[in-house]
């Protein structure tokens, strides 16, 4: 009994150290999305062509699961994600892009340089739609199901591993959903 009392603080310390140690492995930048299983917030954004042009609206996110990618020409990690998005589009999954706080001309030049994997691109120059989406940085990607609900949010670039291991299976599952 007495020996147990002596060991107790050590056990308590080990427990606390393990708890805090686990905390160190968590990335504080990855905030859980408030939108999971909720409908995509409403927006209707112009395109990136001169004078606006057709972009897309949240209302069009119905009927088939899609990826909604937030990016910008000034974003450092976006070129790294770009080949993966291109691959995703090539595999037949529709990717929609919102250029966040970006000049349409810069967005156009970026796409001309790297290639355009997007089914459609819209410009959110004010960043207001991004706030409605709870965006904290670029790139971020939302997976929207057939009913227009957000089902998953990727913070940071989609790596080939994340695509193959997590997002692609989810997209296939969402396609199979009624």
């Amino acid at each position: 009994m007495k020996r147990l009392l002596f060991i107790l603080p050590i056990i308590a310390f080990a427990g606390l150290a393990a708890f805090l140690g686990f905390g160190l492995t968590q990335d504080p930048k990855e905030l859980p999305s408030q939108l999971i299983d909720r409908p995509l917030p409403e927006f209707a954004l112009p395109g990136i062509e001169d004078g606006g042009g057709p972009g897309f609206a949240s209302a069009s996110f119905k009927g088939e699961p899609r990826l909604l990618n937030i990016w910008a020409s000034w974003c450092a990690a976006c070129p790294q994600e770009h080949p993966v998005l291109t691959q995703i589009a090539r595999e037949g999954f529709p990717v929609y892009g919102i250029a966040w706080k970006d000049k349409p001309q810069d967005s156009r030049e970026w796409l001309a340089r790297y290639g355009n994997p997007y089914a459609a691109v819209a410009a959110d120059q004010q960043g207001r739609t991004a706030i409605d989406l709870g965006v904290t940085g670029v790139p971020e990607t939302f997976i929207v199901d057939k009913k227009g609900r957000v089902r998953f949010k990727q913070i940071g670039p989609i790596s080939p591993e994340v695509w193959e291991g997590q997002i692609k299976p989810l997209m296939q599952q969402l396609r199979a959903e009624a």
């Binding site: 930048k29 905030l31 408030q34 706080k101 960043g127 706030i131 904290t136 940085g137």
Partner: protein, 152 residues
């Protein structure tokens, strides 16, 4: 004198806010409310600053949004809810007392109570009986006197 002045100046110095004049609301009372709300909202880019402190572009967007909502006549609580709906409780620098934050709020007090309980239990323990509490024998008293040296 110079030193006193310097010390005074240092005491009067306050951290610079990131709010730019072009963001401010014309109504001073509304602006004061916006400042108070902004001080409680976390900048999601540079996470240990409030949006009132942060120079990040997203913090500016949120400051403008807070002011826009206030100008629309929303209450302080409405404005906070508006941001929380989008970014979650995490944006509140002071998280609300709720089911999943209970551990956060009650934890320190629980540990304090546990410690106090332990201390009381330890204090109340029966005093350890001394093995031999009989008065000193004559021989022991003499030995003690010898060791203590001659009395005055």
């Amino acid at each position: 004198m110079k030193r006193a002045f310097l010390a005074l100046a240092l005491m009067l110095a306050t951290p610079a806010a990131a709010v730019l004049p072009d963001e401010m609301l014309p109504d001073a009372a509304q602006e004061a409310r916006a400042r108070a709300i902004s001080k409680d909202l976390r900048c999601v880019v540079c996470q240990n600053q409030s949006i009132d402190d942060s120079d990040a572009p997203l913090a500016r967007d949120l400051r403008l949004l807070v002011r826009e909502q206030i100008a629309k006549g929303k209450s302080d609580a409405d404005v906070r809810d508006y941001v929380v709906q989008r970014y979650g409780n995490f944006v509140l620098l002071k998280p609300p007392v709720e089911g999943d934050t209970l551990l956060l709020w009650a934890g320190p007090f629980a540990i304090l109570l546990l410690g106090a309980a332990g201390l009381i239990a330890w204090q109340r323990r029966a005093p350890v009986a001394t093995p031999d509490s009989a008065p000193l024998s004559e021989a022991e008293r003499a030995e003690l006197d010898r060791l203590a040296g001659p009395h005055n």
